[in-house]
Amino acid sequence: MKNQWSAIFTGTTKVKVSGRGIERFLNQLTRSGISIWNVKRHGAEAITFQMGLKDINQLRGPARTSKCKIRFIERAGGPFFLKKLWTNSGFLLGGAAFLAVIIILSNMVWGIEINGASPATEHKIRKELSQLGVEKGKLQFTVEGVDEIQRDLTDNIKALTWVGVELQGTTYHLQVVEKKEPEKPEVLKPQNLVAKKKALVVKMFVEEGEPAVELNEYVRPGQLLVSGTIGKEDETKSVPARGEILGETWYKTHVDLPLNSTFKVFSGKEKRNYYLGTGGKDLKVWGFGKHQFKQSETESNQNPIKIFKWELPLSVKKETIREREVVVRIYSEKQAVQVAKELARRDIKSRLPEDAIIKGEKILHQSIENDKVKLITYFRIIEDIAAGQPITQGDE
């Protein structure tokens, strides 16, 4: 026995047969392989039954030979349903449009809230955000992720110590901690000033305390420069020694620079693909065709589609393929030496405090071997060499 439920998809129809010899007609139908069901008698000369739409054509033969009258009185199932749907497609379209609008609105940025920032900083943040593309009315797919925004803000706005970016529904919440310009720490505890490194004292400016060294004196690391203990032998007093002791210090840097070097750089050409993903499977919706890049790097980020505050199991994936080029840099020997010197200077600056001055430099060694420039430079630097050392009770 077969079930007829599958006929619902292909469509069914209700047939009314009237006349004489209905039973014979039914026998003919079943013998020609038409499945019929729900056969009911209506009075002496009429019956109704249901049959699948796909068997309608086969009905013709038996219908001709018999003397029955056949009428189709009801239609149901797939094709008829679709037809009905088509006539009412306005509703369907309206529903789809409504859903689409809701989804679009749910994925828009509707607000940016900034907490804990002064008006000036807030203005800066808003400017930076709009440069990043985070603005009211933007779609969240086009906006970068929360982590990128956070990184970008902390990198580009000096006044920020930390910023926490959080996306709650359609609103970005930014929690800001501003940098407080540190005020000069008031030195209250008695201290000595000692030398940080080996140096030649070239300038002394003592605000408080008793100098223990003289100009043009060589000092070793840890040597007392300004004593915090002042007064005569009997009545000594401990004060916080303050001052600036500039010393000449010496540094040696080694720079190795290859004459030929290869770099990988992005050429600026890129191709974007968009995917609609669900459950780990991705369907490409934009960006068909293969890229022509010989070398490339692919970056992809995924954004879930939201409806109100819930996330749908759908996501939009953006894939950016950037062309990569290999660039060969070749220096002539002269250029290489020049660059190496520059590198040495940069290297020394990175090792020194900001207020240090390069007083002189001298190349100790310069050679070109195996396509490599080797440079040893000697720098004379003027820098503050004083460091505080607290005087503890009972030390004296």
Binding site: Q4, E23, T30, S35, V39, A44, F49
Partner: protein, 99 residues
Amino acid sequence: MAKKWGQRIRNWMTQKMDLPQDVMMDLPRVTMIGQIHIYIENHRGLLAFSDRELRLLLKQGQLIVKGKAFVIKTIMPEEILLEGKIDQVIYINDNPGGS
């Protein structure tokens, strides 16, 4: 005569070889579920159908089902499923006086 011989041989074979009788002898197989369903396999066509009576042709004789509010749920060349309230199931043997 030949038909009778064939019948006899079949009868003998089913008895000796322990085969199901409906398969060998083209008998109808009737399954009833209470009074509400009757399922008949191996019939030879519909003879009459109304909401109180169903008459089926068998290989030998006829089968009459009587009751109320009959609806044929499914009909196929050799099977029929009838629904309704079944009161009687009657076999009519193939006699010269029959239809």
